[in-house]
């Protein structure tokens, strides 16, 4: 991937590559700073270490992206971490990971430079301290990283992103250079990005939606504008910011797109400069047709794309370019496979489904497949397995656990989940992970979580002597990120069980409907 950045730096050395509210980097500065970070890692932070994780404490700023590329220059892979996560979860991730080093990108440039940064009892080095290390001798860093870059092959890991795991331990999805290269090739083939593309980054960097901003921009020589988080609750600040920064490509979570439509902000917010959006792409959960129509009616020139895919297949494996208005009760399809990606719909007997209307599990083959889960070979083998159609050689598929069917025209439509994973607030969440945290509370006998897709709320049923919602929340907030906290808490005297002695989810559904 560094070669991609080098090519962009050769073609557009003085063009702005990355910007946030306060700072910006040209392609030359981007590459130059990344090489210094790479040199520092190779010489000081983790001498002799390659293909090992290095964590980055991220903030919504441009330098976090520079730090990622610096780690890649050193021949290692980056793991973006949100320092705002509950202490216990960060601790679990860090002990699973044992990173070879931690780079702190939080402070405003210059401000935290000398302060000893650390997290969960591990020491970290600030980005500023690293950048000032070589002084005028940046050439030394260059020599060091050149060797590392030359030794990197495209099956080496590029990054790891942690997602929810059903057993209560988050899993680190490891993605290779090859997979991200494949992603940018596929996007370049299907969409028209060019050096005038300005990607308005909404997704946090520990969320793989942001991967598309970072690498598509690098491939086309465009710019990434990191939009301040506060604007996503203030459409009356957000829209003027998009216009002022000349942002024309949005690859956003559904909820961020929705807030603009819900508040009819395109009508209500007065703009000095017109918005010129080429693409609005959305993913993470189902886009309500009503919100989409709001945009389509007002932006006839903009291309709207529904993207689908889990982190394990490198962001997205299917796309649907919205080619007509949908009725509010129609399902927006997830479309068709990206180039160089094969989608197999498998039934319970592992036979391929080709006819329309029949539901099966979405399985994916191609270079987009992640390397697997960090330090979890058994778990990896469960989801990344031999393609049942292939005999005689090794060919893997990833089982998404998502169920879908083909429409008459061959477009895929998402149906539901096979297991207890849900999509909530743009995140894939294992209800089992929430239950594991709840069951860990001393005075709770047993718990069960359900998801209400209409109200978009997580319901928690718990069996305990006493009712204490606040007490539960207080404990959960030390263990789970906020998007995993249940919204409704219902205490039961005894958890309903079915004939097999398992928790009777149907009975709980009824209880939930009764309120």
């Amino acid at each position: 991937m560094i070669r991609l950045l080098e090519r962009a730096a050769e073609r557009f050395p003085d063009k702005t590559a990355l910007a946030d509210e306060n700072t910006s980097y040209t392609y030359r500065e981007y590459l130059g700073s990344a090489r210094i970070v790479g040199g520092y890692i190779a010489e000081v932070m983790a001498p002799g270490t390659v293909r090992q994780p290095i964590a980055v404490l991220i903030e919504r700023n441009a330098k976090s992206i520079v730090a990622f590329m610096g780690i890649v220059c050193s021949g290692n892979f980056y793991v973006p971490l949100d320092a705002g996560l509950p202490e216990e979860r960060l601790g679990v991730i860090l002990s699973e990971l044992s990173p070879a080093g931690i780079i702190d990108c939080r402070g405003v440039s210059g401000e935290k430079a000398k302060e000893a940064a650390g997290i969960s009892g591990r020491s970290a080095v600030t980005f500023e301290e690293i950048l000032s290390y070589y002084g005028k001798d940046a050439g030394r860093a260059d020599t060091l990283v050149e060797e590392r870059i030359a030794e990197t092959i495209d099956t080496d890991p590029l990054y790891a992103i942690f997602t929810s795991g059903s057993t209560g331990v988050p899993k680190g999805v490891l993605v290779s250079h090859r997979s991200v290269m494949d992603l940018t090739d596929a996007f370049a083939e299907v969409f028209s990005f060019d050096e005038g593309s300005v990607f308005g980054n909404q997704a946090p960097f520990d969320f793989d939606v942001s991967v598309k901003d970072i690498y598509n921009a690098m491939k086309c020589g465009g710019r990434v504008e990191v939009i301040p988080k506060r604007m996503f609750v203030r459409p009356n600040l957000l829209l003027p910011y998009l216009a002022e920064r000349e942002i024309n490509t949005l690859i956003w979570a559904v909820s961020a797109v929705r807030i603009v439509a819900e508040f009819r902000a395109l009508d209500e917010v007065r703009l000095e400069k017109p918005l010129r959006l080429r693409y609005i792409m959305f993913s993470g959960e189902v886009m309500p047709v009503k919100s989409l129509n709001y945009f389509m009616e007002r932006m006839p020139e903009t291309v709207f794309v529904n993207l689908y895919g889990p982190t394990e297949i490198t962001c997205n494996c299917t796309y649907y370019i919205v080619d007509r208005q949908y009725a509010p009760d129609e399902m927006l399809p997830i479309g068709r496979a990206f180039p160089n990606t094969r989608i197999l719909l498998l039934d319970e007997q592992q036979r391929r489904i080709n006819e329309p209307g029949k539901t099966g599990e979405i399985c994916v083959a191609g270079s987009c497949l992640a390397l697997g889960y960090w330090n979890a070979p058994a778990r990896t083998a469960e989801s990344f397995c031999q393609n049942p159609e292939i005999k005689g050689y090794s060919g893997l598929i990833y089982r998404t656990g998502d169920l879908a069917y083909f429409r008459e025209d061959g477009s895929l439509v998402f149906a539901s989940r096979k297991d207890f994973q849900i999509k909530h607030m743009g995140h894939r969440i294992e209800l089992g992970e929430i239950e594991a945290a709840l069951n860990g509370i001393e005075w709770i006998d047993v718990s069960c979580c359900l998801y209400d897709t209409v109200k978009e709320k997580i319901f928690c049923f718990y069996q305990a002597e006493v009712e204490d919602r606040k007490g539960i929340v207080k404990i959960l907030s030390t263990k789970l990120p906020k998007y995993m906290w249940p919204n409704k808490y219902i205490r039961v005297d005894a958890m309903p069980l079915n004939a097999h002695g398992k928790i009777d989810r149907r009975a709980l559904e009824e209880l939930k409907e009764k309120g």
Partner: protein
């Protein structure tokens, strides 16, 4: 006020809305929270909160939100 507290607590069970007064300034509420809270308030109180009402001074605390609701109800 009780109804509003219920809406807020369901959306964000982790926050003590009796004392919190920097919900927007400290980026405590995100876009998902705002969408769900505002749509429920609109429905419950029969009002329409406008994009230009999405100001820190209207959303920083439960009492500020209540004031906004009362103001919109009287319009």
């Amino acid at each position: 006020m009780d109804k509003l507290m219920e809406i807020l607590e369901e959306a964000r069970p982790d926050i003590d809305f009796k004392t919190a007064d920097t919900l927007i300034d400290d980026e405590i509420l995100d876009s998902f929270d705002i969408i769900s809270i505002v749509s429920e308030i609109n429905e419950e109180f029969g009002i329409k909160i406008n994009v230009n009402d999405l100001l820190p001074e209207n959303f920083n605390s439960a009492s500020a939100i209540m004031e906004l609701i009362t103001k919109l109800q009287n319009e």
